[in-house]
Symmetry: C2
Subunit: 266 residues, 2 copies
């Protein structure tokens, strides 16, 4: 199509700070969500509680209606949880629109060590979504979402485990479907950025080391449970781990080398 | 003293699921917060917005009044932010009690690959705090918090950079102080846990590999900015990175070996 789909910019999802780092494009936002091992999901427990709640959940973006939809097309966010958890009870009791929630995730890709504490930063990717969450009641859609979420933890794991889930497993698991209203992402990459006044001061530049420490998630050698009869770690696991380790490292180290116009850095 | 301080258990911070993994002790909760590179902070933007907001922030637990307080004693949560951000404006406008917020963080320590998707899990450490946030107005306390937060990104970095911050830097930075009302933590460690019905089924155990893939954060080789005159990476940076890499890996691999009574696993 050649058209980039973007989320509408409202008060609640528009960046006020470092606007050049913000994105409203569906693709990058969905990718940040799907690359996350854990999402932080916020909701309001009720009028008697002054504090918003946050719980860690596992989730993925996808479209049950259009399963072949690509990452930069409109998708729903599917979240996995336990049947009697507070957020599930609230979503069950909410009106037809669903429970208003916020989904957030952040990943640090590097430490930006600059001349002054003030210009220190991280290379990072973060994203938020606002939307209305309701329980998936269609069995086929639920199974589809469970498979997608399991495979997001480890590619192809679903078909290599004991499936389908039995009756008890299906009823103890609840899938929340979030109809996304808006979203935004922020990506910081590149190197150190300091102000001219410090940068021109030899006394400072002679004493402070500046640079970037790349940071990435490493998957270690699988530790077998030891009780099963499958002794060798299967290929789909070792190759997933090897690929992820290469990708994660390349992303963190590659982010440092992105050249930005000087005035857009910091 | 020998006494373990705990947060009060209320509706909003008490675990309903996997209770044996929950902790209300100040020490472990504060440690999880302080080990986090990023905290997710939730607040309600106002009556016109149905969605709670979440923003990623950097923060640390500490006590300005009793700087020598240990990690398992009552502490405040200090969060670093930009002067005109939405949360800062709300905290500035809030009543004397402060803005009700939730602080959350989660770290995955391993993938738990069991026989069925249903018993898949992560080894992880997560924590939340509820509290009232207000702006730090005392200059001495603000500077103390800024130093603590900078040093949480990289040990001893503050004294090795151009300090103190100048007037403009001090006024563009805002520190939020969260008076903590309650909190809780969850820690999952150990190995795979499956149900007897699957575990006793040879057809399943002959086909599904089970075990744990440890996951940890790796700090890579520092990439110098290249413009400064300090060419060698200083010792305090290389030793911090080396120590962190050893600790992070040992924690993720060590978590797998924790032996739990069988009925407490899963």
């Amino acid at each position: 199509m050649g058209r980039t789909l973007t989320y509408p910019k409202g008060v609640s999802n528009t960046a006020n700070r470092y606007k050049h780092r913000a994105t409203y494009d569906l693709g990058p936002i969905h990718r940040i969500i799907n690359d996350s091992q854990v999402l932080h999901v916020s909701f309001n427990p009720g009028p008697e509680d002054p504090f918003p709640a946050i719980i860690p959940m596992i989730g993925q973006m996808g479209s049950f209606e259009y399963p072949s939809a690509s990452i930069d097309e409109p998708l729903e966010c599917y979240l996995h949880g336990y049947v009697s958890s507070r957020i599930m009870n609230l979503a069950r009791k909410s009106d037809s629109q669903g429970l208003p929630i916020c989904v957030a995730t952040s990943k640090v890709d590097g430490l930006i060590l600059s001349l002054t504490p003030n210009s220190h930063s991280y290379n990072y990717r973060s994203a938020i979504l606002h939307g209305y969450a309701s329980l998936v009641t269609d069995e086929e859609e639920k199974l589809w979402a469970m498979k997608m979420i399991t495979n997001s933890v480890l590619e192809n794991r679903w078909d290599h485990s004991r499936v389908p889930p039995d009756r008890a497993e299906m009823s103890s698991t609840v899938i929340l479907k979030v109809k996304v209203v808006d979203g935004s992402g922020k990506i910081r990459d590149g190197g150190v950025s300091d102000e001219r006044k410090d940068y021109d001061n030899k006394q400072i530049t002679n004493n402070v080391w500046t640079g970037v420490v790349p940071v990435w998630e490493t998957f270690g050698t699988p530790i077998p449970n030891g009780d099963g009869t499958v002794s060798d770690v299967p290929d789909y696991i070792t190759s997933y781990i090897a690929n992820k380790n290469l990708q994660n490292r390349a992303l963190a180290e590659g982010a440092v080398k992105v050249a930005l116009p000087a005035e857009e850095q910091h």
